[in-house]
Symmetry: C3
């Protein structure tokens, strides 16, 4: 297994934790916990591949992604009473997962010939789509649309990857820099409690 695949599966696991946690909060049963874990972890990648016409989606073709997402959901369900203690590390891993997903999504979009604005959009959808699907499934207005400064790091990272592509830089290192930028800005936003403005009427 390559380092990239390990990181990818780690991102899947961390996103699955956030889905399973919300499912428990909403009193879903075990199946609901597994579905929300899988949707959160794989939804962004599925959406990306549907938009790019890369079917069946990569996360379905390789069964390991589903297995990791479902196993994570099962573990969260089993150890739920102990969970509140691990919020801090989860946010750290979640920021890492966001970075990996955004960088990978943007790179894949550019590789099929999308322009700059659409590529950034697809990259952000890859990173954020799973969380939006998670929230919509349980009737919650997606948290990313309301207050968490979750999108700015995604847009910045996707833009850096896209600019690197425009300058014909090596895609691998460019993606790494983009992912790191997402991670850093996201953690800064959490640390400094940054928020987006809300419109007034």
């Amino acid at each position: 297994m390559s380092v990239l695949l390990v990181l990818d599966l780690l991102g899947v696991a961390v996103f699955a934790v956030s889905g399973a946690e919300l499912a428990l909060d909403k009193q879903l049963d075990l199946f609901g916990v597994l579905v929300l874990a899988a949707v959160t972890a794989l939804g962004g990648g599925v959406l990306r591949d549907l938009l790019l016409g890369a079917t069946p989606p990569a996360v379905l073709k390789d069964g390991r992604f589903l297995v990791v997402a479902l196993a994570t959901g099962l573990i969260v369900f089993a150890v739920a009473p102990q969970l509140p203690k691990i919020v801090g590390p989860v946010r750290l891993f979640d920021a890492a997962g966001l970075g990996l997903f955004v960088a990978a999504g943007t790179t894949k979009a550019l590789s099929v010939g999308l322009g700059a604005v659409p590529a950034v959009t697809v990259g952000c959808i890859t990173g954020i789509g799973g969380g939006i699907a998670r929230d919509v499934l349980v009737g919650v207005v997606p948290v990313v649309l309301r207050r968490e400064l979750y999108a700015v790091p995604a847009v910045l990272g996707a833009s850096v990857v896209t600019m690197g592509d425009g300058l014909h830089l090596n895609p691998g290192p460019t993606a790494a820099v983009g992912a790191l930028l997402v991670f850093t800005v996201r953690m800064l936003g959490i640390w400094r409690d940054w928020h987006f403005p809300v419109g007034r009427r």
Copy 2:
């Protein structure tokens, strides 16, 4: 018309009933009833074909599926006051529809070369996706994620179809056995009031 097509259209009709019923409960207008009937009946098949890259989806290419779904919605709208009487048979047909959709979806996923875990997943999405879309459209947390033991029969049936494929059994009889298993376990679950555990915090 083959027996399979008749069964398929029957499954569509039964799923359309459940969509139209929920639309009436939620005070939607006639158009809302027709949309919910069609989404519930065809949503799972559309999702399956999008994931497998089989576009346009089969239920769109053959207009009869849409016609049956919309006609069913119209009938439910017209006879709504008499409906509460027919809950029992609807559950029976619904279990049959679930079996047919899961078996057909799993078989199609295997035929395009998906592995075991992804094929089971696509089979379950085919059977359950329409009902999830129906509930999300009217702001209800999908019932299948909360308490109904709806997913276990789907997973079991899809697994049997997948195992049969792995043993190189004849796909037709294997699908029939899978569909029958879904139906039987689902009806047993209703009869014995089986539920999944809900996590505690």
Copy 3:
């Protein structure tokens, strides 16, 4: 730029206004406003292209659609306090956008060989899908399913385009007539306050 493209971008802008307005009503932050503007404006076209297998979707391949949608969302966010004054014209443009989207969606569906009922369905999804996605994202039962007589003009217009195709008429003028019919019936419905019946139980 052709006249058609200008009209298309105008439709995108008007739909984006309705998305951004709802986002402001729901107290979303700036990012939420931009996402809802883009989803409302481009969601119907993305759904259409996913269903037809035309990936990446046209509105992603040509970055101008996204730029217009996002710029419109930004403008609405900035000038929100002045917005209530322009409800009338927005409804006018919205009806025009609906007509253009329905006519274009139906024409595209027919061009890939869909039959009459599926083509009308895809045409309506093109016109209405973005608004449904907008409402679902913020936890609102889609207004088009509840009371607004929004679907009848869409179905009529899509049917006229489909009939014109069946009679081998010139697609361009047929689409124009269909779009105009949608617009006219929609404005009549607003003016005369037409509603669909709601079912009783």
